[in-house]
Symmetry: C2
Subunit: 284 residues, 2 copies
């Protein structure tokens, strides 16, 4: 298989860097092809602005969406943007690996999404308007490929549980899982999340590496999150979930099995008490 | 009152820029003090990295959190970071104004959060450990100040409704509302959200400006989202919502009134049919 890891951490000798290196080596040892976009090492330009479009009339007001559409269609995108798109088209499995910062992606990774997800590539496909809303949410250029978030978290597992103060991890990840990955067509796998990483003992780090490698190697066969496809009959013609689906409030309504909780939890504390839960049902 | 608008849009002549200018002018005309951090105009450095810490030993591995803590405590932060912190401490009302890009903030704004929210300023306050989890989620240095998201959206209102395919807007905004604003102590107001902005007729744009001005002027008295404070007795000692709260699944469980839907909806379509809903109860 072809694996692409989009990796965002400023320090190569960090736990994140170690996990990325171990994951890469294990995939290669198993005969897979691996490419890594190490955004910090690449000095990735995070800010989407007019400089992304060299052919654009710089004196005219910038409409980023329109400029993106034209540059993608005409082959005049920034070279690093076009290269990332080619990597995505090449890959079978895409992993976004990053530390959670303020409940989301580091800015450098968000800026990778903002710039690489061009109009015509990640959105703007298919017919839009009337009862059609394009090829998105399960359809699109990246359809058939698998994607997984791999994330390190400083906080404790319980704080991200179904009733934890930070919000349930599945819900926190919704904008990424559903908005960034499912939208352009990816099949979305349950994430790999490591908690309390700042106090992880060496044995805990090795356990994390083992689990990450396992998740990477099994990604082609892992049961995905069953997000409802937009054009699969579950939504009405203004893209509202049909009333016959008597599902609870909350984002889980957009899964075909709303009771399925995707996040695989690994809790590692200072005294090394790993607790590894497989994907499971909501406990309420 | 003192207003601070953190504004992120690459094009000054955009609808976003127009709304920002109109809002600023109206606040000033009403006698308020207004400061704007125009992140694109400031060429804000979005990427959090070792360059943020001039006094750091550049040869040592970077632990961003630790470096942030030391630089904040020792007064050696990057000057633009310290200035943004001072603006936040100065303000009574803080507005994050931005276009939604891939279901979240543009990278330049996320990078403002990543860098300005230093250890000791936005987190790491109070006692951590055992049953204490610090001053956060309703407590912290920014306690008593009010904050509001003001956002422009290309898509249609229905797609962001309680059962819309994109996810309910309140849930999409959770990482920002609860994670970025409530965490360091802000009182969080219902957002101002404008939909279908790409096809807005001139009359619709004026209606948006009128509504934005109204929301800005009334921000000091607007009923906030009643997020449960961390240390208010609703969470147990591992920060899990106590079992006696028989609330539905989903992020709304973390509001003291889970039925309250915060988002004020304004739908504006090509033929100008504005629909303005006040904050309301979930319709299931």
């Amino acid at each position: 298989m072809k694996y692409l890891i989009i990796y965002a951490h400023p320090e190569p000798t960090s736990l994140s860097g170690y996990l990325k290196d171990r994951g890469m080596a294990a995939l290669q040892a198993a005969g897979h092809e691996v490419r890594v976009s190490d955004l910090y090492a690449m000095k990735w330009k995070a800010i989407a602005d007019g400089d992304d479009f060299s052919e654009r009339d710089a004196a005219a007001p910038l409409n980023y969406e329109r400029a993106s559409k034209e540059a993608y269609a005409q082959g005049t995108q920034a070279s690093e943007v076009a290269e990332e798109q080619q990597k995505l088209l090449w890959a079978d499995v895409v992993v976004l690996q990053f530390p959670i910062w303020w409940y989301g992606m580091p800015a450098i990774l968000k800026g990778w999404v903002d710039r690489v997800y061009a109009y015509g590539f990640a959105y703007g496909l298919g017919v839009h308007g009337r009862s059609q809303w394009g090829r998105r949410f399960g359809e699109g250029l990246l359809e058939g490929k698998r994607a997984m978030v791999a994330m390190t978290v400083g906080g404790r597992m319980a704080h991200y549980g179904p009733r934890g103060v930070n919000g349930a991890m599945d819900d926190l990840l919704w904008p990424i899982h559903h908005g960034v990955l499912f939208y352009p067509g990816f099949t979305v796998l349950p994430p790999t999340v490591f908690y309390e990483v700042n106090r992880a003992a060496p044995e805990a780090v090795e356990e994390m590496a083992r689990i990450y490698i396992d998740r990477l190697l099994t990604a082609p066969s892992t049961e995905p999150i069953a997000f409802r496809p937009q054009n699969g009959g579950d939504y009405d013609d203004v893209q509202v979930l049909k009333p016959q689906f008597d599902v609870p409030v909350g984002l889980s309504m957009h899964q075909r099995d709303p009771a399925f909780v995707s996040n695989t939890w690994l809790g590692v504390s200072g005294d090394y008490t790993p607790k590894h839960f497989a994907p499971t049902s909501r406990d309420k």
